[in-house]
């Protein structure tokens, strides 16, 4: 799976959890999930579960803890699927 395709899917997963949709304009690999998208920690758990389902992977607590940006999520998915 290509990086762009994973990125697109990650953005689709994040979209319903982002309170202010304008935060998604200009979203990039550097966008911080907590700071820029203002996702709270309960929603982070939902996002991890949705990523597991969408990509058929298991995300450990340690791996989830390393995901701070959209790019971190994309890298984790590509690495786990490789």
């Amino acid at each position: 799976m290509e990086q762009n395709e994973v990125m697109g899917k990650v953005v689709d997963i994040l979209r319903p959890f982002v309170k202010n949709p304008s935060a998604l304009t200009g979203i990039s690999m550097d966008t911080s999930i907590l700071k820029d998208l203002k996702v709270n920690s309960a929603r982070l758990v939902d996002i991890v579960l949705e990523i597991e389902d969408a990509f058929g992977i298991a995300v450990t607590d340690e791996a989830a803890d390393q995901v701070k940006t959209v790019g971190d999520a994309v890298s984790l998915i590509l690495k786990t699927k490789a």
Binding site: S32, L34, S41, A42, V45, V48, L49, D61, D65, K68
Partner: protein
């Protein structure tokens, strides 16, 4: 230094209306004994979010002493909701329900902290409201709250710290906001750092 943490959850947030029924969410957040308690509870929604808030409060208190992986299920909440453990550390806990808001406060020492919850006025910024509530409870007078940049943290900033006339005060504090509520906890001892 005595550490405190707090967390509020707005039970009327539509996003969490059915979450207690989702086994995978419950399993990601709760250890096995907690899952059994949620499954057998007469109010599984209230119990799940009480446990969640307790774990968040404990994480906020303990993560100030050094980097900590936030794995909710490694924070184990006692059945009576009076303590929460992480590995060998045990924190005191209180969980209060105010209407449709759950507020959990966790602390590392015998003496309980001061704490509070307030409903957010529509249109008011939640971070600012939580800060204003805490400063008002501490008596105002030259107090400010700031978070210093902390590279590598989840949002680039460290935990909130209290300052009096620009000088850091040796009093641990914690802020929280969710939906229509804001909350705080603060160590009640209050000796100033020199």
């Amino acid at each position: 230094m005595r550490r405190v943490g707090n967390d509020v959850v707005d039970l009327e947030d539509p996003a969490i209306a059915q979450t207690h029924l989702r086994e995978r969410f419950v399993a990601r957040v709760c250890c096995e004994s907690e899952r059994a308690r949620v499954a057998g509870s007469s109010d599984p929604k209230l119990l799940l979010w009480s446990l969640f808030a307790a774990k968040e409060a404990a994480f906020k208190a303990l993560s100030k002493s050094g980097p900590l992986v936030f794995a909710h299920r490694r924070f184990v909440v006692a059945e009576d909701l009076r303590s929460v453990s992480y590995l060998k550390q045990v924190l005191w806990l209180r969980v209060d329900v105010h209407g449709s808001c759950v507020h959990a406060v966790a602390w590392t020492d015998d003496e309980p902290p001061i704490f509070g919850v307030e409903k957010l006025e529509p249109g008011v910024d939640a971070s600012a409201a939580a800060r204003a509530l805490l400063i008002q409870r501490l008596g105002g007078g030259g107090l400010t709250i700031a978070r210093e940049p902390q590279p590598g943290s989840w949002n680039g900033y460290g935990p909130p710290k209290l300052f009096r006339d620009g000088v850091e005060v040796n009093l641990d504090i914690s802020l929280s906001h969710d939906g229509r509520f804001v909350g705080f906890a603060a160590d009640s001892s209050g000796a100033e750092k020199r």
